[in-house]
Symmetry: C2
Subunit: 166 residues, 2 copies
C-alpha cells in the first residue's frame, strides 16, 4: 500500500473490488489515465464511453460521456483528489473541477473511488474501493451491480492492454 | 497567488471575501490550522466554537463544533484538499475524512473554501473564496450573511493574533 494512503475501510459504507491482474501496474495506470485508452474499456459493453477528458492533477477534471445501447448519452464529471503514478488514483463525483461541490440532485451514486495498484508476482493486485456517504447509498450502488460492472470493465481493460503489449 | 492555484472564479457560483490584514501570512495560517486557536475566533460572537480537530493533510479531517447563544451545538465536518503552508488552504464539506462523500441531506451550505494569503506591504492580502454547486446555493449562502460572518470572524482572528504577538 502506498505510504500516504491511510486506507480506512468501512463494512457498511464501502464497496471493494479486488483481483490479481496479469499486467504491470504501469499498464493499468496508463489505461486509467489516457483519454484515448479509457474510452476503449471504461464502460461495460454494449454501453460505450464516447468521450473523455483527464486533467491529471489534484483538483483536475475527470470527465466521461457514456452512451447507452439506445443512443442516450450520459455525461459524468468528477475531480481528481490524489495521484500517485502507478500506485494510487483517487477521485470523486461529489466535486467537480477545482474542487467545486457537484450538483448531485440528478441522482446516481455519489462516490469517492480509490484505485490501488500493488505489484504481485509478475502482475498487479488491483483494488477498487468505492466510498459512500450512507449505508443506503452503498447498498443501492451494490444493487446496481457495482461488482459486476467493475469486473466487466476490468476484463475490457486487460484485453485492451494485452493487445497493446502484443 | 501560489503557483499551482489556477483559481478560476465564477460570478454566479462563487462568493469572495477579501481584505488586507495587518498580520504576516504565517500568523493567519497558524490561526487557521491550530485547534486551540481556531476555537477562539472561528465563529462570530455570541456564537462559539467549542471544539475542533484539524488533521492537516489532503484527505484529513477538519472538524468544528459550534454552539449557539441558546446552547444548541452544531458539529461540522469537512475534508482538507490542498495545503500550502502560509499560502493556500482548501477544504470542503462535500467530503468527510479520507475524501468520503458527506451526507449533505441535513441542509446548510455545501461549499469548497479556499483561503489564499499573499504578502502585501507589512501585512497580508487575505482572500476567502467559497465555491458552490449552483447559483441558488450561492445566493442562499450570500443571503445567510456570508460576507458579514467571514468579516466578523476575521476581526476576531486579527484581535486574537495581535494579542499573541503582544
Amino acid at each position: 500500500m502506498p505510504s500516504n494512503a491511510p486506507e480506512t475501510q468501512s463494512q457498511a459504507l464501502d464497496l471493494v473490488f479486488e483481483r490479481v491482474v496479469d499486467l504491470p501496474p504501469a499498464a493499468i495506470w496508463r489505461a486509467w489515465t489516457t483519454p484515448t485508452l479509457i474510452t476503449q474499456w471504461f464502460t461495460p459493453a454494449p454501453w460505450e464511453t464516447i468521450a473523455s477528458e483527464i486533467d491529471l492533477r489534484p483538483g483536475g477534471r475527470f470527465y466521461t460521456v457514456m452512451r447507452s445501447p439506445e443512443g442516450q448519452t450520459f455525461p459524468h464529471e468528477g475531480c481528481y483528489l490524489a495521484i500517485e503514478p502507478n500506485q494510487r488514483l483517487v477521485w470523486t463525483n461529489a466535486l467537480g473541477p477545482d474542487y467545486r461541490p457537484a450538483d448531485t440532485s440528478a441522482g446516481g451514486p455519489v462516490i469517492t473511488a480509490e484505485i490501488t495498484l500493488t505489484p504481485e508476482g509478475h502482475g498487479t493486485r488491483y483494488r477498487a474501493l468505492a466510498r459512500h456517504a450512507t449505508a443506503a447509498d452503498c447498498q443501492a450502488h451494490a444493487a446496481m451491480g457495482f461488482a459486476e460492472g467493475w469486473g466487466k470493465a476490468l476484463d475490457q481493460l486487460i484485453a485492451l492492454m494485452k493487445r497493446q503489449q502484443a
